[in-house]
Symmetry: C2
Subunit: 341 residues, 2 copies
Amino acid sequence: MNRTEISSLGEFGLIKHLTKDFEKKNSSTVLGVGDDAAIMDYKEKQVLVTTDLLLEGIHFDLVYVPLMHLGYKSAVVNFSDIYAMNGFPKQITVSLGVSKRFSVEDIEELYAGIKLACDKYGVDLVGGDTSASATGLTISITCIGEGEKGKISQRSGAKNTDLICVSGDLGAAYMGLLLLEREKKVFSGDESAQPDFAGKEYLIERQLKPEARKDIVESLARINVVPTSMMDISDGLSSELLHICKQSKVGCRVYEDRIPIDYQTAVMAEEFNMNLTTAALNGGEDYELLFTVPLEMNDVFQNLPGIKVIGHITDESLGSCIITRDGQEIELKAQGWNSLK
Amino acid sequence: MNRTEISSLGEFGLIKHLTKDFEKKNSSTVLGVGDDAAIMDYKEKQVLVTTDLLLEGIHFDLVYVPLMHLGYKSAVVNFSDIYAMNGFPKQITVSLGVSKRFSVEDIEELYAGIKLACDKYGVDLVGGDTSASATGLTISITCIGEGEKGKISQRSGAKNTDLICVSGDLGAAYMGLLLLEREKKVFSGDESAQPDFAGKEYLIERQLKPEARKDIVESLARINVVPTSMMDISDGLSSELLHICKQSKVGCRVYEDRIPIDYQTAVMAEEFNMNLTTAALNGGEDYELLFTVPLEMNDVFQNLPGIKVIGHITDESLGSCIITRDGQEIELKAQGWNSLK
C-alpha cells in the first residue's frame, strides 16, 4: 500500500482532499467546510448539539480496530446521542490530531468510514480541522441535529408508573470487546495464531460497527409517541437507568427476565464464565435506546417489533432495583464505562 | 496547594463540579450540560458552528502557559471564529482528555479561565465531556453562534475594488511567543534566571490572553455595514488574505506602510533581528479581524477607530501582492502557522 506523508499535503490540502467527496444532503446546511464557521438554518426547529472526544489508547485500540470502522463508529455514536433526544442528526464536524505514524492513506480510511456513516444516516460534514499530534490519534466529533419543539425527549421527564422500554438487545458489544481483547495476539502479528470468531460475528460487529437507532425514532414518530424520557445506552443499562431516575426524581423496577439478550451474547458469557445479567446491565457501547412511555401505551409497546418493555418507573422513595428471576429485589448500581474511575 | 485526584470524583462528578457555577445567559440556550445533547432555539436566526482541537505539545506549552490563561484563550479563539462570520457566539461545549499528571485543582484553573471568557463574552457552556488520556492534555471546544440571515460574512464575498481592512495591530502575539520561548528556562525551574518582560507586557498578553473582536462586530452593526468578506487572523495576515482572494476569486494589493504594528512589536522585532513586516504578515494568533467593504465606504472606514484600511481588492488576474515602502510589488506567500507542514 502506498504511504503518502501528511506533510506533503499540509493541513489545508489534507482537509480539502478528505472532504471533497462529501455531498450536501440537508436543506438546513447552508455552508459547510471551508470558512471560519459552518452556517445552518434550522427555521422553526430546535437545534441539538452533542460532542465526543475519542483518544487512542483510552477509547480505541488500533491493534484490532480498523480505521474505517473507527471512523464509522465515531460518527455513529454521535448520531446516537441526537436520536436519544428524539431528534435527527443533520451535520457533523470532525477534528483530528494525527501523529507522524499515520499516513494520508490511513486518514483516508478513517474518513471513508465517516463518509459511510454520513451517507447512511443522511448527515452533512460541515467542518473540523486536522493538526499534528505528539502521540497517537485524537478524534473530536460534534454533531448537530434537529428536534421539534415540544417533542424532544430529555432524561428528566420520566413519571411514576411509566413503562421502561429498550430497543434491540444488550451486552453484545461488551462481549465483542472481550473477544477482541482475547484474540488481540492474532492482530499483534503472531502469525501462527488465528482469530476464533466463527459463530461470533454478531458480537464483533456490535463492537466494531455499531448502528444508531434511527429506525426506532422514526417508528416512534410514525405512531406519534414522544417518550417521556430517553437516553442511548453507551455506559450500560444500569448506569443509564440511574441517570434517568436521578434526573427525573423517580425510582424504577426492571425485571431480569425481560432484559433482551442475544443468543451469541449468552453463549459468550458462558464461555467467559461471566454472569449474563451483569454483562447486559453493565456492558457498554450497545447504543440501543432506553426510554419511558406512559403506562396506557402498554398494549402498543408490548407488540412493537425491536422494542422490549423491561420494567416501570416508581416513586423516588422506592429506589432503583432489578427484580431477579427468583423474585429478589437488588439495588441497581452503575458499574459502567466510567473511564476516569 | 491541594491536590485532589480526578479519579476521586469520577467523570460525572468532575463535570458536575466544574460546570456548577456557569449561569445561563442566552435565551437561545434551552438545555445545557447533563443530557445526551444540548438544546438550542435560534428561531429566525441562522446557526454558526466552529470547532477547535488543542493538543499539548503542539498548540500549547504548559511550561509557560498558565492553565487559567489556556482556558480563557481556548474559548476566546472559538468566539473569534464566530465573530469572523459577523455573528455572535452563544454556546460552547468543552471536551477534555486529561492524563494522571493533572489534578482536580488544575482542571478547575482551566475552567476558571473558560468561565471568565464565557462571562465576558456572554456565552453559555452547554456540554462536553471529560475523560482520561494516555498522555498530556487535549482540549476540544465547539462554539455555536447566531447570525442574521443575509448578514453573515463569508470568505468568498470580496469584490474587485473593495477596501481591505484590519482591526487592531498585527505581529504582537507572535513576538510574545518568541519572547516566552526565549525565557522558557526561567519557567523550567532555573531559579537564577528571571524573565525579562519589562516594557513587553503587551506582547505577552497578546500571546497568553488574546481577545476576540466582539467590539468590531458591534461597531459594524451600529453603522449598518456587512463586510463583503471577513476572517479572523489566526494563521497570519498573508495566509488569511490568500484564503479570501482564493475563495472570492480576486486578487489584492496591500501596502506595507499601512499594516498596523504596535511600538512594542517593532522594538521586539529589532531585538530579535527580524524583519518587522515579515513578522506582521506571518505571525499568527493575533485574532484580529480582516475584512473587505465596498470602496464607497472609504470615508467611513478611514476614520473608524481601531480599524485600518490596508489595501484593496483587484481583479484575480493581477494576483495578490504587497507594495513595499519603496514601491516594489512582491507576491504574497502564506508562511503562516501550518502545523502540519
